[in-house]
Amino acid sequence: MGVTDGGNAGGSPVPPFVSVVVPLLLLTSLTAVPLVGPGPNIIRLLFVTLTLVTASVGWNLIGGFAGQISFGFAVFYGLGAYTTALSINGGIPPVIAFSLGAVVAAVASLLIGLPTFRLKGPYFAIATIGVSEAVRVVMMNVPFTGGASGYRIIDKTRFVQSHHYYTALALAALAVGISILVRRSKLGLALIAIREDQDAASDLGVNPFIAKLIVHALAAALAAAAGGVYARYSLFIDPDGVFAFRNGVAILLMPIIGGVGTIWGPVIGAFVYGLIHEEVVANFPQAHLLIFGSLLILIILFEPGGVVGLFQKFMRSIRARSSVGAHS
């Protein structure tokens, strides 16, 4: 499905040392941000962006590595948000609450994946929309979680923004770590084989079904954790908010912007979406849809491989030039 390969498969133009130094630099700078006192708005922006990174990296596991394009990841995000909210109100400590949300979503992903993975391309995508919307409508009606009125977390503790920030940062780092691990493992190779040609892969002894189920569960768990972290910050969630179709679309847009199927593509895409989208909305109340839509169109027309694709082309042209230089 028109995805570019990236990351560190053989012959990559990115020297391995850079691919360690840059992420470490990024992590260090992000950790340092609250300490230099940039103000609560920047921290909020980065916080939201980091939760988006987690969801984006998660989606990429199934959508990018395995090529199974899901439009319905809002359902996992929402399940994570609600499970976390209910748990925190029940007195459960936040980290366990996030994990509970992840588990619930992973189970849901099995229930969803089992019947739908045998569907081909667009049918699968549309089925995921159906599931996501059906869950949203059901949640709008279930009185236990507040139905359409939404659900509140009662949090008596003092609000310390940096706690939430570091939680999101840790989760994002964990997500990227999982992504790298999966990519470099046998599972990762199997997924890429499945993505390119599922039947050939199974001929080679890979069980596509099991592989997809596993990675779908991981992806769902990450998206749910992101939802949970967000819920704990904003304290109020409602089905039309967290389960919105628009969320599912955003979660899939981010890896596409950054470069789907790569390790860092989803991260970059989340930063672009999280930071630029919000700034555009805040500064151009009358024209933000136009601006963001045009941005998307331009990205797609000029570099469908996303930011990472652009970077790879750039690196390749440098290498070509340097190897030409070496010969002369």
Partner: protein
């Protein structure tokens, strides 16, 4: 690795570090600097998305108030010994609750606002209401009336929209007066169709409360919730038909009001009294339904027909400012929210947010355009104002029919069967 490739590597790392640093610096700098000579007030309203129209009207009400205040030089701040103008910091939340919360947080945490007015509709209001206490910044909502928002013990949360269950209660109360006057029989059956939101739920609860306090007047024989934005209400209307009720009370947003009432008319239904909750006299509905809107009544927070002189002046000013007449109640609660805020700021004598909040708790806006002519926040931050019931009359006319001391015309009940 060769020394030249290490060199290139370092160059690139440094380059990337530069880019990162610049990016963060830009973000920091982009945050607005604290301007000393104006009073910044955040306004977070939907002007796109589902709630775009009412959000737009509320914004206009706020901006009219700001303009009038600034035309007089601004608000007198004792600690600065001069009048300072108001600067509006506006954000569109796109009818999206997470954006609504984010924008309110942004305004409160880094735009240097002294207060935020925002939250049209309960969901957006609930989302925003988390922020005022977090950032110790007063917040007034002119568009979210659910009591749940005000029952959490928040200290910085205020609302100029009276509770929605009181709206339902007043609707039933009005119908009760019609029974007392002999226009409607006793023991009539009511069918309720409520939108599946906080609004619909509270509206239904208000009606139930009145019925419990006044047994013998009405009987609710059917009550069901429907999802917003449906393409077809045939099934629901069939159920309403099957209930054989005398009175049909729905609570809906404008789009559903139009779709549902069209299908109601097309299937030849009739009830003695019909209402769509807080919707009825909207100009857009009149354009979409024509004479089918006649005799529909609505319980709303304000009507331009109120006979107070300050309402007449507001109507003129609003028309001049926006080029159109006030639509239903939307701009009024927002207009007065800004005015009561300005009064509280003046009484506080400074731009200290907690002082402003303390004043909001005590202040009374005496020439309010809302029913009752005075705004005073209750202990929980919400005003307990009164409502008006309006009834559409032929030829695009609207009459206030309740309370009787504000009435501009007679109730027509039961609705004529003619159409």
């Amino acid at each position: 690795m060769s020394s030249s490739s290490v060199h290139r590597l370092l160059q690139r790392s440094v380059g990337l570090l530069h880019v990162l640093a610049i990016a963060i610096a830009v973000l920091v700098l982009v945050s607005p600097v604290w301007a000393q000579d104006e009073i910044k007030i955040g306004v977070v309203m939907p002007i796109t998305g589902r709630e775009a129209k009412p959000g737009q009207y509320q914004r206009e009400g706020i901006e009219l108030a700001i303009k009038q205040i600034n035309d007089g030089g601004g608000i007198l701040i004792k600690s600065r010994e001069k009048k300072l103008p108001i600067k509006e910091v506006f954000y569109d939340d796109g009818s999206d609750q997470s954006r609504s919360a984010g924008m309110a947080e942004r305004a409160m945490s880094s735009d240097g606002v002294v207060a935020v007015i925002g939250g049209y509709s309960t969901a957006l209001g609930e989302a925003e209401s988390v922020m005022p206490d977090r950032y110790q910044t007063p917040w007034i909502t002119p568009g979210a009336g659910a009591t749940t928002t005000f029952s959490r013990g928040y200290e910085f949360v205020f609302g100029t929209l009276s509770p929605i269950d009181l709206l339902g209660y007043t609707t039933a109360q009005y119908l009760g007066t019609l029974v007392d006057k002999g226009k409607l029989g006793k023991g009539l059956k009511i069918a309720l169709a409520l939108e599946n939101t906080d609004h619909g739920v509270e509206y239904g609860r208000g009606i139930d409360n009145w019925n419990k306090e006044h047994p013998g007047y009405f009987n609710v024989v059917f009550s069901e919730k429907f999802e917003l934005g449906a393409t077809d209400f045939s099934g629901l209307l069939q159920k309403v038909k099957n209930a054989h009720a005398d009175i049909f009370l729905a609570d809906a947003h404008l789009q559903d009001y139009i779709t549902m009432h069209r299908q109601y008319i097309q299937s030849g239904m009739y009830h003695q009294m019909i209402s769509y909750g807080a919707r009825g006299p909207e100009a857009d509905a009149r354009k979409a339904l024509g004479a089918a809107t006649d005799y529909i009544f609505a319980g709303i927070w304000w009507s331009s027909k109120l006979a107070y002189p300050q309402v007449k002046k507001f109507n003129e000013d609003y028309q001049a400012f926006t080029g159109h007449a006030p639509d239903s109640w939307y701009p009024a609660t927002a207009y007065d929210a800004m005015r009561v805020l300005a009064q509280a700021i003046e009484h506080a004598g400074s731009l200290d947010k907690t002082a402003i909040r303390d004043q909001l708790r005590k202040t009374e806006l005496k020439n309010s355009i809302l029913p009752g002519q005075v705004i005073r926040f209750g202990k929980n931050g919400q005003i307990q104002g009164s409502f008006v019931i309006v009834q559409n009359k032929p030829d695009d006319k609207v009459d206030i029919v309740f309370p009787l001391d504000a009435a501009t015309g007679e109730s027509v009940a039961p609705k004529p069967k003619a159409h």
